[in-house]
Amino acid sequence: MTAPIRCREDETFVLNLGPQHPATHGVLRVKLTMDGEYVVKAEPVLGYIHRMHEKMAEDRTFAQFMPNTARMDYLHALAYNHGYVLTVERAAGIEVPERAEYIRVITVELNRLTSHLLWWAAFLLDLGGFSPLLYAFDDREQILDLLERVTGSRLTYCYFRFGGVYNDIDDDFITGTRNFIKRLRSRLPRLYHDLVTKNIILIKRLKDIGFVSKEQCRKYGATGPLLRGSGVQFDIRKNEPYSVYPEFDFDIPVYDEGDCMARYMVRMDEIEQSMRIIEQALDKLPDGPVRAKVPKILKPAAGDYYAAVEAARGSFGCRLVCNGDKSPYRLKLRSPTFSNLSLFGEVAEGMLLADALAFMGSLDLVIPEIDR
């Protein structure tokens, strides 16, 4: 990368990227101060899709807040379901039957696959490749069909319940999932890696672009593939195991380069790891009930509870403050991309506009989750 040619202060101009821009995947606006093609200053402007879920939580019972969780990160809605039910279960001291835990893991991982596939498709669209989108959507639709069979919805799931899941999975789902994994395994090397990962244009556009250091990640609280692409092995599923994740044998992909390519590779490897987890979970799936008996109106003891899960974009945490009432006194939702995006300004400085867009794509932004 060559250093930008600095020119006079009064020769810069302001470029508004968004709020309606195809590369921002939603309604994010970035105020860019440009010097020709180079970014001098980048300021993300948030809040275009802010809905104040945290206030809504204070106004509803614990169970009534469930549908809201799916509407934050609509691409990995089940992880958000999971994070929220984990927190409430911790607060109310609810035990979850084992089969329900397995079903949770299977569906969350399937959902993670859809999220990564969609990221892959959209990211390549940002970079100018159209046909990968169609291949990824073909696969993604298969998962959505599977998830629709069990959850009834295709995108904004409201499937988990305190003490279990809404309903059991059936044999068709299990065979369907196995077939799907077989199919994706056969398609990955050719349609994904041969066509895209090894493509010289992609490599040229991602290698050494958007370098994020370990220290930057720590200072900004970045998590998820962004952190793992910078060489830090941190994944809540392994580091702070919840649910039945310790039962499974899977790896946390880590790449040391810290550039866009590293983040790309982390996500591609995670697709494989998720498939491994699903297969093992299907093999080990125990019999039994899928839902514990839980009172309809929960009133957890007063106190302060925290639980975190690994969503597709990083660690999603819920801090729940209860005062013994039937609705949360305060619910703080810690969304991973909020922190991840906050380092955009620092890193994008001095980049070419096209590279800044590639960098933004590699952060995997989902705006409703940032704005909450």
């Binding site: 948030l46 809040g47 802010h50 104040m52 945290e54 206030k55 204070e58 106004d59 927190t87 911790r90 990640c217 720590r218 200072k219 900004y220 609280g221 970045a222 998590t223 952190l227 830090v232 092995q233 941190f234 580091n239 702070e240 106190g303 302060d304 509870y305 925290y306 639980a307 975190a308 660690s315 945490g317 801090r319 403050v321 006194y329 305060r330 703080k332 810690r334 909020f338 922190s339 906050s342 380092l343 620092e346 704005d371 909450r372």
Partner: protein, 225 residues
Amino acid sequence: MNIVEQTRIALLELFPDLAAADAEARAKAEAEAAEAAEAVAPVEAEQEVTAAAATGEAETATPPPAEESAEAATPETKAAAAEKEPAAEGPRQNGVAVGDYDRHGVHLDVLCDPQQVVAAAEILDQAGFFIEAITGVDWLKEDQMEVIYDYNRNDGRLCRVVVRTRIPRAEPELPSITNVYPGANWHEREAYDFFGIRFLGHPDLTRILLPEDADFYPLLKDFTL
């Protein structure tokens, strides 16, 4: 020494009184542990209590039992703290408590003065923590605002730290930690946006999620829909 204990001792620097008492207690516990190790089998029965305390020191893999620090923090220092700060109300005094991780999801729970949050952030920064979130809680009945800082580690050693402080509702002001953690910038703006908490020394304390012309703080308990 495990990470939780290590961080607890580092954080005790914020409270010199407690640190002294804690160091004393630890020295005592160590001495007792040594004694217990020397002591032969028959004495075991009457030394059950000290042995229990000693295992906390010996087992580095698990967080030490809560009694140890409670023992250290409460009896001698509570009176001193109360003397120093008669205005402080509520059941909890400033200090570092070991949280019940399985129940509450945090390992260390720090309550400090609003002026100390920067010092706390510096200690945690040096210990390699990252800032996860900053948020507020409005305690309308007590006429106070609580500010909560969540810290976590990403090096594989599990230790979640929560730092809390209370500020008066009428004057919600406290120093900003953006100089220590640039990532706190947006989190502080968010807390300002939702609660009206003013972080002194913040480079750009403006609305972040709400429209810039909003004239309300939605998460205050007296803001009703």
